[in-house]
């Protein structure tokens, strides 16, 4: 059966018979457009209704750094930092955000055989308001991206994000798909990447221990958040 090339798709590259290297096939978005006026930079950034919270965030009024004494006492170097970081690290409560297969391995980590309660992470909170770490376990699709970002924004600080599984690290086995976000670091800052399809519970535990180290060292992306792949140049 003949599949003739539709001339309106002429921006797709031709196949090179000798297998030589081509420039990547980038398909411009001529196929469809969205009705949402806010999407794809439709509205100017200042007019975006969701940015009220970001503007408030930028003023720094809501940021309460409870690790420091206030006012004149901030000159005292405190060991409260250490204690607070220890407290935070040893009771990181994850948000139940299992999307796909990695969620089963995440549940398996919570169950007695690989018991993550040893590190205090058993209470998987259903509400983002009570959670510390967002373990994104499973493929993130474009339809789910908005709810997930909303969940992440609803989490109070300090918060961390763990990308569990290949699909969240880079798109994984759905690399060429039309509806999968190629890695959640395109939409939110990630602190720990745990590769695997699915990663074994031991792998998830190792990733969470690395996260604990980040929390204690105050590394990671909070509070200086960056969005986008954070692999340094030259890698």
């Amino acid at each position: 059966m003949a599949i003739t090339r539709d001339p309106k798709f002429s921006n797709l590259p031709e196949v090179q018979p000798d297998g030589s290297v081509q420039s990547p096939a980038t398909v411009g978005n001529t196929l469809w457009s969205t009705d949402d006026p806010r999407a794809y930079g439709g509205l100017p950034l200042e007019a975006h209704p969701n940015l009220e919270l970001a503007r408030y965030d930028a003023t720094g009024d809501g940021r309460v750094d409870d690790a420091r004494w206030g006012g004149a006492l901030s000159a005292i170097p405190t060991k409260a930092d250490v204690v607070l970081d220890l407290i935070r690290a040893n009771s990181l409560w994850p948000l139940l955000s299992g999307l796909a297969c990695c969620a089963i391995e995440m549940m398996s980590t919570a169950t007695p055989k690989n018991d993550i309660d040893r590190w205090g992470m058993f209470p998987f909170r259903a509400s983002p308001r009570q959670a510390d770490v967002l373990i994104v376990a499973g493929t993130l699709t474009t339809k789910m991206a908005e709810p997930l970002i909303r969940l992440w924004e609803q989490m109070p600080e300090p918060k961390w994000v763990v990308a569990m599984g290949d699909c969240t690290c880079s798109g994984g086995r759905y690399k060429r798909s039309y509806s999968v976000v190629q890695g959640i670091d395109r939409v939110m800052p990630v602190d720990v990447y745990i590769p695997g399809c699915p990663p074994r519970p031991e792998g998830l535990i190792y990733g969470m221990m690395k996260l604990q180290q980040l929390v204690k060292d105050r590394r990671g992306h909070w509070p200086e958040r960056a969005i986008g792949p954070t692999v340094p140049k030259g890698i």
Binding site: M1, I3, V15, P17, S23, A25, D35
Partner: protein, 183 residues
């Protein structure tokens, strides 16, 4: 070859079949025209000789020249399985009557065929997108919807994956040619 079923189908639908009853491996297959589709399905469902009361699957197929809707029917009393192919839907505006009158469970399967191909099922009370967001405008499983780096049909026909555009600009022979096995 399930001769009993083939003979029965030939007898009931003789003039409506577009092709002789085929036997594909362990399943019989018939093709009916678009205008006869509903009557055929109703007969297959109601007639005591057939009693295909289970609709196993309903899907769309885009052959590149036309669209087809394929029904897989099964009987829970006899062990018969049947595939009904309805070819000849127009690729630009595919329309077919809905099967939800007989099988209300076909509603979502038709929604999926609509979402993926754009096939309109007349009579489906809930024909909207099911997988893609509601404002999506393409129909992903059509043959003219290309994935971003699949201009060719075979994965190894010379088109590199989007993420591997080629050797990096600062590559030297020393870095590209591997002499030792990796770690």
């Amino acid at each position: 070859m399930d001769r009993r079923l083939a003979a029965l189908l030939q007898e009931k639908f003789g003039e409506r079949l577009l092709a002789p009853v085929r036997q594909r491996y362990d399943e019989s297959e018939i093709r009916v025209a678009l205008k006869d589709a509903t009557d055929t399905l109703r007969t297959l469902h109601d007639d005591p000789a057939f009693r295909f009361e289970m609709l196993i699957d309903l899907c769309g197929v885009d052959t590149g020249e036309e669209m087809q809707v394929v029904y897989h029917l099964s009987s829970s009393t006899s062990g018969d399985w049947l595939r009904v192919i309805v070819p000849g839907l127009d690729r630009t505006a595919p329309r077919i009557a809905s099967a939800t009158f007989m099988w209300p469970g076909a509603e979502w399967m038709e929604r999926e065929a609509y979402d993926m191909f754009g096939i309109t099922f007349e009579g489906n009370r809930d024909l909207r997108r099911i997988y893609m967001p509601d404002d999506y405008r393409s129909y992903p499983l059509r043959k003219d919807f290309y994935l971003a780096d699949d201009a060719s049909r075979s994965p190894a026909a010379g088109v590199r994956n989007m993420e591997r555009a080629g050797t990096p600009a600062d590559a030297t022979a020393a870095t590209v040619l591997r002499k030792s096995p990796g770690v």
